[in-house]
């Protein structure tokens, strides 16, 4: 297989993990999109530096981390700087969970189907329409705290359901 084709394949397979990693380092969703675009550009520009015999994700996470560090001035202003130890744990965690990412994504579809009407409604407002807690509360005629709890329950329901599926496949 051609190098560019192989790199595109590897990137497509791992982009969810890199995106989540960037989000966990940066926090602000709208800027994560730009960082991700910069990461992919860097990865393709550095194709000659990549050793295809070595695992892709640690290299990609390294490129993503460097992209974040390049924007460090902004980063420091918002005090979103992790300590060395936290960053190490985080990077290793993302490398590990990447093995379960594909199953996670497939399980999500099944777990989503098991949600109650109320949870699906709140999910649609938060994730499909990208609304904040206050806006959801206004639309639903409930308190912001009730939305916060509703979102927490929704995420927990999905996480527990996915965890059960991962465990049934012998994964941690």
């Amino acid at each position: 297989m051609d190098r560019h084709q192989e790199l595109a394949r590897l990137w497509t397979r791992n982009l969810s993990v890199v995106e989540a990693y960037l989000f966990s380092l940066w926090g602000r969703g709208e800027e994560v999109e730009e960082l991700l675009q910069e990461t992919i550009t860097q990865i393709f520009q550095q194709i000659d530096k990549y050793d295809f015999d070595r695992p892709f994700l640690p290299w990609a996470l390294g490129v993503a981390r460097n992209v974040v560090f390049r924007h460090r001035r902004d980063f420091a202003r918002h005090r979103q700087v992790y300590s060395q130890k936290a960053l190490e744990n985080l990077t290793r965690a993302f490398e590990e969970v990447s093995e379960t990412e594909e199953i996670l994504r497939r399980s999500l579809r099944e777990c989503f189907a098991r949600l109650t009407v109320k949870s699906r409604q709140i999910c649609r407002l938060r994730y499909e329409q990208n609304l904040g807690r206050e806006e959801i509360a206004k639309r639903q005629g409930i308190s912001v705290n009730a939305v916060k709890i509703g979102l927490y329950r929704l995420r927990e329901q999905l996480r527990t359901c996915i965890k059960r599926r991962l465990q049934s496949r012998g994964l941690p």
Partner: protein, 491 residues
């Protein structure tokens, strides 16, 4: 909800504050398992954000159901239907109740009935997997579209889900993908949606703007090549009859990967830059596309452009360039020259009037060719194919000494046209302005030649110019600009 779950949920909802970040940091540093739990939650959150999970009822089925039930109340159409449905529904139930009413009432104690009803309510609140369709995008505009009788017809606002296939007979349709990519499809075309990031173009023309992707990279598969977006605007034309695909880059760059790499003819995959275009054969061989028509690849506001008021004057452009590693193309704009018209394919420079009066009236609405500004360093001989008698204009940078072939066959006019330069390697701080007389950087003189019959006209190469500074002669100036070519039909 404990403290760290509270922190994580605030983080996912964009409500984290700097003070809580230190707390989160300590928690992550404390135990690798904490980081793992955090990573799984972030993956889940991003997946929900990225895919925008939703539940869609099949549209046609819903319409069909609505039509059927409403038809029962249309007495003119279905007066017998109403009677039949009432009779079939009510009478058996009534008969059963009267026949076995004791058992009916005795078998369902209130608490059991309540539990059953609750169970049914819970089951009803769940949906089957078939009902969940992963949306990939939405149809945002359409112009004069026609659909085959046997295939699905799409409307503006319709959601496109993974595995949907668009069969467009004619017209133009715009799709806004959830990944952020914007695509215009020109019919006849067949497009299969694989996801918000991947489509298969089986035939037709698709122009894509993918510069602000929400994540990752956008890819278009064709039967003969895979086109990988690297932050760009590009066009793909698939011609199943001739078994070839054209790929044209308007901004940024794309990666090209031929599908059939077993053939002896195949060209290894390559990156195409702005201003480059290739034709890929079914065996993976890549050849330069020398010129393209701008209107063939509409995107953004251009999708609504009215059809041409007249036939094209410039139909083709070729040159004597021989370098196979440089697949540069000429972009032909029909009836389009106006203020702020893009001048070159490799720069964002624009043509403008040098004063507020604007560009000379006889150039307005003319056909013109956007070539390579970099050709000023190594100018080729260019041949223009004209479909009808025309006035041919050449716009030459005033700093260039006019070459002999120009003074012999063209006439110099008194009017001038300006070039408003965008950023380049030499002038990185330059920005284009808007409208005539604004931000004009270089002045071009206008030369004309009357061409009485259709055919080809060859424009000579520009000799390597020299300039003198402080008594010294320099071979060339890289700051000068390449000429422009314009044609207006003769009345």
């Amino acid at each position: 909800m404990n403290r760290w779950e509270d922190l994580l949920n605030d983080y996912m909802d964009g409500l984290h504050v700097p003070e809580s970040h230190d707390e989160l940091d300590r928690w992550l540093a404390e135990d690798p398992d904490h980081a793992r739990q955090y990573a799984i939650r972030m993956l889940l959150h991003c997946e929900l954000l990225r895919c925008r999970w939703s539940i869609e009822s099949p549209r046609n089925e819903a319409i069909h159901q609505r039509t059927f039930w409403w038809s029962l109340f249309d007495l003119k159409k279905a007066r017998y239907g109403v009677v039949t449905v009432i009779a079939l529904t009510i009478f058996p139930l009534l008969a059963w109740f009267l026949w076995d009413q004791e058992r009916f009432l005795a078998e369902a104690p209130p608490d059991v009935k309540q539990k059953e009803m609750e169970q049914i309510a819970v089951e009803k609140s769940r949906v089957s997997l078939q009902e969940i369709r992963v949306p990939a995008g939405r149809i945002s505009q359409s112009v004069n579209v026609q659909w085959p009788l046997t295939e699905q017809r799409w409307s503006v606002g319709d959601i496109l889900n993974e595995k949907d296939v668009i069969h467009l007979v004619s017209g133009r349709m715009e799709v806004q993908f959830n990944s952020g990519a914007l695509m215009t499809l020109v019919g006849p075309a067949v497009l299969e949606i694989r996801s918000a990031y991947l489509v298969q173009l089986q035939s037709g023309i698709a122009t894509t703007r993918a510069e602000n992707l929400k994540s990752g990279l956008f890819r278009i598969m064709t039967p003969w090549t895979e086109v990988v977006d690297l932050g760009t605007e590009f066009g793909v034309r698939v011609d199943p009859k001739n078994e070839e695909a054209d790929v044209v880059v308007f901004e940024g760059a794309v990666g090209l990967v031929p599908i059939d790499q077993s053939s002896e003819e195949f060209t290894p995959s390559r990156i195409l830059q702005k201003g480059e275009a290739v034709r890929v054969s079914k065996h993976g061989r890549m050849e330069r596309v020398v010129s393209i028509e701008n209107s063939a690849y509409p995107i953004g506001d251009n999708i609504l452009s009215p059809s041409l008021k007249r036939d094209a004057v410039i139909t083709r452009v070729t040159d004597d360039r021989r370098d196979p590693s440089s697949p540069k193309y000429y972009r032909i704009y029909h009836a389009a020259l106006d203020e702020d018209s893009r001048a070159y394919v490799d720069r964002t420079h624009e043509w403008n009037g040098i004063t507020e009066e604007g560009i000379p009236y006889y150039l307005r609405g003319a056909d013109y060719v956007a070539g390579f500004n970099d050709d000023k360093m190594n100018c080729p001989e260019v041949t223009i194919e004209l479909s009808r008698p025309a006035m041919l204009y050449l716009l030459l940078d005033d700093r260039y000494p006019p070459p002999d072939w120009l003074t012999k066959s063209f006439e110099k006019l008194d009017e001038k046209i300006g070039l408003d330069q965008g950023p380049s390697n030499f002038h990185q701080s330059y920005q284009t302005g808007h409208g005539p007389g604004v931000s004009i950087d270089t002045i071009h003189s206008i030369w004309r030649r009357r061409v009485e019959s259709p055919g080809t006209v060859t424009i000579g190469a520009l000799p390597r110019a020299t300039i003198e500074l402080d008594g010294k002669t320099f071979k060339e100036s890289t700051s000068w600009s390449m000429y422009g070519i314009v044609a207006q039909p003769l009345e």
